[in-house]
């Protein structure tokens, strides 16, 4: 009885799936899915090497400081960094006094309450504060940015596939639309106010090229601030903001694996030892 019921249920599901397959295959052959412009022109992130790649990777603190400078002078005008606090910057090699100064001089102020009147006001950030947001709310952000809300950057490099390379590719990937694209997809012309970038998922984004000229920032350590260099540095910085414990993780991982290899080796030897008499007795 169970087997007859099972046979019928199996026949129904398998049979109907096969019919669904035939229907799908027929329409696939008669009306092949049209190629989309995203499918044809979207590019995977460029290959770029970073100091934190691989199991022994570490952050390059000088690079993180340069990247922070790019963030401060360029990105922070529109993008928030809400999960990062000023105190976290000590990991970049700044000392306590420097962090205090960075917080105090930050262009955007921390929302506060006037202690005398109780009215909303602002104050200078202190190291314990997270980075203040450039816009009071999403409506203000959208109004100032052609209806697009600049996303928070704290986790950007973990929120995209191959995030560090993605940020670098996006920042260096702005270009004119290829003639090929307009020929095959005349409807896909980049709308007014958007910018073509093949590394962006739907090819057109609201952000104008933020890094456009060499020397846009002046690095304190004398590194030449080419667009490529600035893009790499800020990608490294945003990798740190997304994964500040990367170095701890690599260090702990190495120690754990060395310990486990030894322990597992010993466990294997005691396993062999305990079973030795059973295997001999079997012979």
């Amino acid at each position: 009885m169970v087997r007859i019921g099972a046979f019928l249920v199996g026949l129904f599901f398998a049979g109907w799936l096969f019919i669904s397959f035939l229907v799908g295959a027929y329409s696939y052959v008669t009306e092949p899915p049209a190629a989309t412009v995203e499918h044809e022109f979207h590019l995977a992130p460029k290959h770029v090497a970073f100091s934190f790649d691989g199991p022994f990777g570490k952050y390059d603190k000088a690079q993180l400081q340069r990247g922070f400078q790019v963030f401060k002078e360029v990105c922070s005008a529109c993008h928030s960094l809400k999960f990062v606090a000023f105190r976290d910057l000590e990991a970049l090699g700044y000392n306590e006094a420097e962090v205090k100064a960075i917080a105090k001089q930050w262009a955007i102020k921390t929302p506060s309450v006037d202690p005398a009147t109780g009215e909303a006001s602002t104050r200078d950030p202190v190291p314990a504060d997270h980075f203040p947001k450039p816009f009071a709310n999403n409506v203000a952000a959208a109004a100032a940015n052609n209806n697009a809300i600049p996303p928070d950057l704290s986790l950007m490099t973990k929120a995209r596939h191959h995030g560090s390379a993605y940020v670098y590719s996006l920042l260096t990937g702005f270009q004119d639309q290829p003639a090929e694209l307009l020929k095959h997809f005349p409807d896909a012309k980049t709308p007014e106010g958007l910018h073509y970038n093949p590394y962006f998922a739907n090819l057109n984004l609201a952000m104008a090229p933020p890094l456009s000229a060499e020397g846009q920032v002046t690095y304190g350590d004398g590194t030449k601030a080419s667009v490529d260099q600035m893009a790499q540095d800020v990608s490294a910085f945003l990798t740190w903001t997304a994964e500040p414990k990367l170095e701890n993780r690599h260090r702990a991982g190495l120690a754990t694996i060395i310990f486990l290899l030894i322990a597992t080796g010993l466990a294997y030897m005691s396993y062999q030892n305990i079973w030795a008499d059973k295997k001999k007795a079997a012979v």
Partner: protein
């Protein structure tokens, strides 16, 4: 129950004798996972995965309880509290990554444990109850994992919750009220998040309880073994401790090494980047996919694209997805071959390998976007999945000519070691 030749618990120390009289808990442990449990001497490494699944559950409970100490089950702060755990809690990143990857490793070892059972016929009499309880654990694990994935309240959390609870919406007439009732609202929100957190905390302990039943049911007939031949006498068994505790110790080491490699060097490899974007009900991700361990079932769900007369395709998909798991409960009565082990079933063995490949293909299609050719491939693969269990297995059981079975476990062991005697004799013992 145990075999008559099982070693007896004889406490020597007066304190232990006193405890044994009042509460024989040490005796229970001794008979369950100690020297008092005789186990077939010929278990291979595939028999390690039950203990490893237990280890994975312990890792999940320990890391999960610590995560809960720092988590805020409120849709306004949930995402931020998880990030805070990663950044500001001592070793918080370790707990969080261990918990997320621990779920994946729990499923890896459980899938190996299930496919071991399928190959060696562990579901057959007299161990049907072990198999059924194992499936109950599997269902509880799926519910727990699903609700746990919602808790960080990222984009995939939110939209995954929406899609999965939407499955109940496919039920005619009562579907939508049920969906609203499950979510505590018309869309996932604070009410859903709170109940998922509560249940996500509770269910692991329910799983632990069912594991006790699973082991209890196992100990009635005793463990199965790769030959599928029942234990015939004391020469066929060894005490669980120290023989299999030592082997499991080695297995646990290998498991922890694999776990650590992923945990410390690629902790987001199995995750989805979209879950690092905070939940936003106004922005739907391009591809909504569940975690990898649900992909085969997700592929079956999406494989139904054509309405069956008055039954909409979506409802068929939901029914098929639940059926794909529920049919496993009938397996002991579908495969009626008296031979347990795939070693002695040449036809069954070939189809087992096809099933393994089939589930891998389903998994791949389940993780891919819902577009051609993946839908067509998953339709064929899902058709095979149902045919395998519901049609092919009963037929094989009827027509297959099994190979001759060894007379006993010891005979099979002797045959193995007898052959390699000349080579192994030269190797010195440790």
């Amino acid at each position: 129950m145990s075999f008559p030749w099982a070693e007896q618990y004889t406490p020597k120390h007066p304190v232990m004798q006193w405890v044994d009289e009042k509460l024989p808990l040490p005796r229970l442990v001794y008979n369950a996972v100690g020297a008092g449990y005789p186990v077939p001497r010929n278990l291979n490494y595939f028999w390690n995965f039950g203990v490893l699944a237990g280890l994975a559950l312990v890792i999940q409970i320990v890391t999960g309880v610590i995560m809960a100490m720092h988590y805020g089950a409120n849709d306004l702060v949930a995402f931020g509290t998880v990030e805070q755990t990663m950044r500001d809690v001592n070793a918080g990143w370790l707990m969080r990554y261990a918990h997320a990857n621990g779920a994946s490793f729990f499923f890896i070892v459980v899938y190996l444990h299930i496919f071991r059972g399928l190959y060696f016929g562990s579901y057959k009499a007299p161990r049907e109850m072990v198999w059924l309880l194992g499936l109950v654990i599997f269902l509880l694990m799926m519910a727990t994992a699903f609700m746990g994935y919602v808790l960080p309240w990222g984009q995939m959390s939110y939209w995954g919750a929406k899609v999965i609870t939407g499955l109940f919406g496919a039920i005619p007439v009562v579907g939508e009220p049920i969906q609203t009732w499950l979510l505590g609202g018309f869309a996932p929100g604070n009410a859903s998040l709170n109940r998922f957190f509560s249940l996500h905390f509770l269910l692991p302990f329910v799983i632990a309880g069912v594991i006790i039943l699973h082991i209890w049911a196992l100990h009635i007939p005793g463990s199965s073994n790769p030959t599928g031949v029942e234990v015939k006498g004391p020469q066929d068994t060894v005490p669980f401790h120290p023989y299999y505790t030592a082997k499991d110790g080695f297995g646990a080491g290998v498991f922890l090494i694999a776990f650590s490699i992923l945990l410390f060097f690629a902790p987001n490899f199995l995750g989805h980047p979209d879950n690092y974007i905070e939940a936003n009900p106004l922005s739907t991700p391009a591809h909504i996919v569940p975690e990898w361990y649900f992909w085969p079932f997700y592929a079956i769900l999406r494989a139904f694209t054509v309405d069956f007369f008055f039954i909409p395709a979506k409802l068929l998909g939901v029914l098929a997805m639940f059926a794909s798991i529920l049919l496993l409960f009938f397996l002991p009565w579908l495969d009626t071959s008296p031979v347990r082990s795939g070693r002695y079933r040449p036809t069954f063995r070939k189809f087992w390998w096809i099933l393994l490949g089939d589930v891998a293909v389903l998994g791949y299609c389940g993780g891919a976007p819902a577009a051609e050719p993946f839908v067509m491939i998953s339709q064929i693969a899902a058709a095979y999945y149902f045919a395998h269990f519901l049609i092919i297995l009963p037929l094989i059981a009827r027509f297959e000519m099994p190979l001759p079975l060894p007379g006993s476990i010891t005979e099979a062991v002797l045959a193995t070691y007898g052959k390699t005697d000349g080579e192994t004799a030269a190797v010195p013992a440790e």
